[in-house]
Symmetry: C2
Subunit: 304 residues, 2 copies
Amino acid sequence: VDSGIVHGPAVAIHGGAGGYREGLGEPIAACLGEVLDRARLMLERGDDAVSVAVYAVSTMESFEFLNAGYGSALCSDGTVEMSASVMRGSDRAAGAVAGVRHAEHPIRAAAGLLDAREVLLIGEAADRHAVSCGVEHRPNEFFVTARQRDRLRSSAGEHGATVGAVCLDLHGALAAATSTGGVRGQPPGRVGDSPLVGAGTWADQNAAVSCTGEGEAFIRTGAAHCAARLVADRASVEIAGAKALEEVAALGASGGLIILNSTGTVAMPFTTQAMPRGTWRAGEQPEVFVDEPNQRPVQGRVGG
Amino acid sequence: VDSGIVHGPAVAIHGGAGGYREGLGEPIAACLGEVLDRARLMLERGDDAVSVAVYAVSTMESFEFLNAGYGSALCSDGTVEMSASVMRGSDRAAGAVAGVRHAEHPIRAAAGLLDAREVLLIGEAADRHAVSCGVEHRPNEFFVTARQRDRLRSSAGEHGATVGAVCLDLHGALAAATSTGGVRGQPPGRVGDSPLVGAGTWADQNAAVSCTGEGEAFIRTGAAHCAARLVADRASVEIAGAKALEEVAALGASGGLIILNSTGTVAMPFTTQAMPRGTWRAGEQPEVFVDEPNQRPVQGRVGG
């Protein structure tokens, strides 16, 4: 139960709800650990929540074994389409891109809209905007890994894994960020919850939320907004996160989310086999969890 | 105050929150009146809420003087990009398209996703999907009217006018639908709240909502979902609608919405100069309201 005492700064990150990442537990744990160590340094020196959330997601976008940016899941035609969003809790500013095919870091393109008139840009316009933000423009093949090409050929199921981060900074401000390569084998042009404010991402003065899972169900339940509203109504992050996932489950779908409130309390519930995740809060050591078959989650203190 | 007694079927429609439609009050009132008359017939014979909402929006899409489909506002490059969404309250199924350039009826393309795996398709994929739904494919110039070409050249402001409908059918099911040509002069690729479930459109078992106005603020407040949540928590539609618009106003933005609950009670609040709107419920006559400068809204009983 949350004591109500502010324990910021704090950060939580996820690498997507889905099946076990067999053989990839160690590199994924190492990636999340590095992200948390750096996020901690940034937060301790006073960086703002948006910068840290965008840093965290951007780093996970570059990591081959997570489904965002480089190494994204492939569409049915073998190409990559990416989407991302970020929200700043202090003033509910938001930025999002969908259907990006060239921006090396979709989350940085999204962040470039936080102080713009537009919240959401799609397709070629989003890629052009990314260039104007200084985000590297890559040929679509840049994002395509041999692993994902193999996975597209195979029938193994994995839905809507994404990456995400929620942060509370030294100044008490919250932010949330989410990025994805979508669902393996999805038709080009399909957009899930990750770039949608209220569905995959939400931040206000009470809570920051990043979701992952079967995106359509997160859209149809307004999952991120739903969880944040419950926190605004004084629910704990555990209850708020669980209730949002219950609504998703009522539609026959699964997934997970990370949620952080204004006192620095984190919950990271999921209803899939696995959700690589990690958290750090002031005065504690960073912790990373990677779920393995037939085991309790492998829990490792990292960094520090 | 809502008596709690079910008064369905019922329908409400809007033609977009914005400035006065000088010189267009009569044709707009006539269009809305025709839509209500036909919606009433459909609802009385037992048509389902989705069909009636889609019919209503589709008819307004064809109407030159409302900003959706034919007669849409033009992007900065003089082309038309359209977006639409629909949600079925009984099971929260949703369908949406964004960045459509050729589908004569974006709302029908959106409706074609209600029972699909995907909720949201964008760009060319959305136009291809529309064709597969039997929606007429038009050259982009089809949608461009002389009036909108003139308006793009002028500096008069008008933001995010859209069209929308909410319905309660004889069987007690709710639905909401929204369609738009976006904001005049918007950059191509910009997407507002209209195709976003939770922002511009929402329906569940308690309420159906369609929003219009400065789309970015409706996204950042999750306006449609926000209003529906309040109804689920037993607020009246008046209170729920007003509170959602208050959140939008807190971001410095304006707009309007129509909201209908499961007993057939409607509210149609707006914070702009004008919002053409109309409603009908069982046992009553249809009513259309078109706001005029320096007058109380012109209120006309139509049809019947």
